[in-house]
């Protein structure tokens, strides 16, 4: 992922640049190109949209339309810890709603937003696929299952105490 400095300077990341150069002209490559941009930068910066528009000949407005259609794409960078709350059916019947409320309260942000200190991003996802552990929250790569609001608060405290690393 790009550092702050590189983002500011508008550096084209090598992996994304390679992809643009190799496949820019092929039909149907828009979504893979956007995925490569997001992999490189952590989100899709305006610069990447310009680059893709130039390489593919697709107007920037149309690219923007595709970006906003799909849930995967982000136009803003993520926080250090990404919290994914599963909103699948199994989690819903086991109390995912209370988990979301607790998160909103603890972090002071709504789903899709990043906390002001840049520490947490709160996302709701359709299904994390570990329904037998419901309700489930994933922080980074680690899943936390059978959570209660109290349990979630405990987990968040651990992350706050060690802002730099993993809890």
């Amino acid at each position: 992922m790009a550092t702050e400095g590189e983002r500011a300077k508008g550096v084209v990341m090598p992996a994304f640049g390679r992809m643009l150069w190799r496949h820019g002209g092929e039909p149907g490559m828009l979504i893979p190109l956007l995925q490569a941009a997001q992999d490189s930068y952590g989100y899709i910066p305006p610069l990447a949209i310009e680059q893709i528009a130039m390489a593919t000949g697709i107007p920037a407005s149309e690219i923007y339309g595709v970006i906003t259609f799909y849930r995967q794409f982000r136009l803003r960078p993520l926080g250090r810890h990404v919290i994914r709350v599963c909103k699948g059916t199994a989690c819903h019947v086991q109390g995912a709603e209370m988990i979301c409320r607790t998160l909103e309260e603890e972090l002071g942000i709504r789903q899709g937003e990043t906390s002001e200190d840049g520490l947490f991003t709160f996302l709701e996802v359709a299904c994390l696929g570990c329904c037998s552990l419901a309700p489930v929250v994933m922080i980074g790569e680690q899943a936390y299952g059978r959570l209660t609001p109290q349990g979630l608060r405990r987990v968040l405290r651990r992350f706050r105490r060690k802002p730099g690393g993993d809890a």
Binding site: L34, R71, K87, A90, C131, S132, R153
Partner: protein, 581 residues
């Protein structure tokens, strides 16, 4: 010679499977040649994860709920000492009773990253048989004869679809595997891709030969990183061994497969939207006809089938159409995989012959509810499906009979609900999902679902009006008949089925301002259990309405007239003393 197989599907990993694997590595060390450590996919017994199987001289012992600490004893007693740890053994046969594994034949049995293990279980023999000993017409006839129908949910006969694609105009054709499994609460396709990717690739290659396509595309959700990795490994190793690629088995037939990652849009499970997405556009459905079998991807004849459908195909060619047809009902043949979840005791992946009843699945295989109380309903088919009440538990799994209840077979999500689940809330939940995922093309779907959702939210918040029930039914009917694609046509199903079977719950919300299941917070009374309250004061601090009072270390109480029912006290209490009544 001993082998240790660790279940490392997404569910196993989420439960801590990687830590278990690490502990085994530490204890066994690199020099230990008597024991091989392997990975395998989902066995299906998700409620017992992490699962570890020890295989020695053909004898198999399955351990459940393995933690890194338990690994030490398994290694010391079983692997080194030859004495299995009886306390942790899972009765695999008992738990799998009543199931028939065709699609899941290899899941949890083989290392999915090893093409050799797949071949050792007759893998790629069906493809060889097809391209060397059968004509494309014979392959299609076999699939037609087997009675296989699309497992994505709609149940279109697979063989008929192949024949349409075969007889479409000649030239370049495409096979697409729809692995954009998006129903919340469904994880069948993911488990197959993670646990047995080659069976899907083989099925696609057979379809390619049958319809005359040399190119296959797997459209897979980007949210399934492990499935994508396994698919990549599998295509690479099949290509390396000549099981995919040019001139298969020296027959002159070619077939190659590439992956296309979805970008997170539920509507892309619809075939024309999926095609638009592969072409790099916004994934919006279009009018059919022309059907994809005539003009699909880049206007080429395109055959789209679901993961589970393809995984059935090699088995059918190997065992014959008759063997497949011997399972099931008059109109629905073979088996169906379900992701059993919700308030069920033994959740996981189950595969049952068609014709098995709902009761047999929920109460038999699933072991009833966690709470021990009777189940109230099951939800089938996700946001496109509906709720089937327990009174119809005798309904067999069969496309037509499930449709008759108002639900749909769907891709295989089955969520069990008991009396602590509010059916109005469930309807609201699914409508929120479809409303959010509606692509916005058709007015009825875009605006109609929004209006329905507003009404349901109002009912759950205690503002229901007597005429709401009729408005919901009327709107639902209009959305169903006036939308272009399956998403819109089926979006009202969760509401319409709950209206039909749980009318009294709507009445209770609207007329009595009560939520019988005590889920809708605005309709419950909060109270504090004096036996559990420790008087810590956390709830008093959290309550913005100033409704909670009580001295430090004494039992607190909630003033019902000031309570705004926000539920905050419920989330802060550490002694579980806040009660909903």
């Amino acid at each position: 010679m001993q082998a240790v197989m660790i279940g490392l599907g997404s569910c196993g990993i989420a439960t801590g499977g990687l830590a278990v694997q690490r502990r085994f590595r530490e204890l066994l060390g690199p020099g230990d040649e008597r024991v091989t450590l392997k990975e395998t996919g989902c066995i299906g017994l998700c409620h017992r994860e992490v699962l570890v199987e020890v295989v020695e001289n053909g004898r198999r012992t399955l351990y459940g709920e393995v933690t890194p600490d338990r690994v030490d004893r398994i290694v010391a007693d079983h692997l080194r000492g030859g004495r299995p740890v009886a306390d942790w053994i899972v009765d695999r046969e008992g738990l799998l009773a009543g199931q028939k594994r065709i699609v899941l034949r290899n899941c949890g049995e083989i290392d999915p990253s090893s093409i050799e293990e797949y071949r050792a279980r007759n893998g790629y023999l069906a493809l060889r048989k097809a391209v060397t000993a059968m004509t494309p017409g014979e392959v299609i006839d076999t699939v037609v004869d087997s009675g296989l129908r699309g497992r994505g949910g709609a149940g279109f006969p697979t063989g008929t679809k192949w024949r349409l694609a075969r007889t479409a105009r000649a030239g370049h054709k495409v096979v697409i595997c729809n692995a954009d499994e998006g129903d919340p609460g469904a994880f069948m396709d993911r488990s197959v891709l993670e646990g047995d990717p080659h069976s899907v690739l083989e099925g696609m290659a057979i379809a390619g030969y049958a319809i005359g396509a040399e190119e296959g595309i797997v459209y897979v959700r980007a949210e399934y990183p492990l499935a994508i990795r396994r698919l990549r490994e599998a295509t690479a190793s099949a290509l390396e061994r000549g099981l995919l690629g040019p001139n298969l088995f020296d027959s002159g037939v070619s077939f190659s497969v590439r992956l296309k990652e979805g970008a997170g849009a539920f509507v892309c499970g619809e075939e024309t939207a999926l095609i638009a997405s592969i072409e790099g556009r916004r994934g919006m459905p279009r009018v059919r006809p022309p059907f994809p079998t005539e003009a699909g991807l880049w206007s080429l004849p395109t055959c789209i089938n679901n993961v589970e459908t393809f995984a059935n195909v090699p088995w059918i060619l190997t065992h014959g159409a008759g063997a497949f047809r011997s399972f099931g009902t008059v109109d629905s043949k073979g088996t169906k995989v379900f992701a059993l979840a919700g308030k069920v005791r033994r959740g996981g992946l189950v595969e049952v012959p068609m014709g098995t009843t709902i009761d047999e699945i929920v109460c038999g295989i699933g072991g009833g509810t966690v709470s021990g109380r009777p189940f109230k309903a099951i939800q089938m088919g996700g946001p496109s499906g509906g709720c089937i009440p327990a009174s119809l538990g005798g309904t067999p799994i069969d496309y037509e009979q499930i449709t008759a209840t108002g639900a749909i077979m769907g891709s295989g999500g089955m969520v069990v609900m008991d009396d602590s689940t509010c059916m109005v809330d469930i309807a609201r939940f699914f409508l929120h999902f479809t409303q959010d995922e509606s692509c916005g093309k058709c007015t009825f779907c875009r605006i109609g679902t929004k209006r329905m959702l507003e009404i349901l939210e109002r009912i759950c918040a205690g503002g229901g009006k007597p005429e709401d029930v009729n408005t919901l039914a009327e709107l639902g009917e209009q959305i169903r008949t006036s939308s272009l694609c399956g998403l819109g046509q089926t979006a009202p199903n969760p509401v319409l089925t709950t209206l039909r079977y749980f009318h009294d719950e709507y009445e209770a919300h609207i007329r009595d301002r009560k939520c019988p299941a005590r889920v809708c917070l605005a309709l419950v009374e909060f109270g504090i259990d004096p036996d559990k309250c420790t008087g810590c004061g956390l709830c008093t601090q959290a309550c913005e309405a100033g409704a909670i009072s009580g001295r430090s270390k004494e039992v607190h109480r909630i003033d019902g007239s000031r309570c705004v029912r926000c539920g905050k006290c419920l989330t802060v209490c550490r002694s579980d003393a806040v009660r909903k009544g």
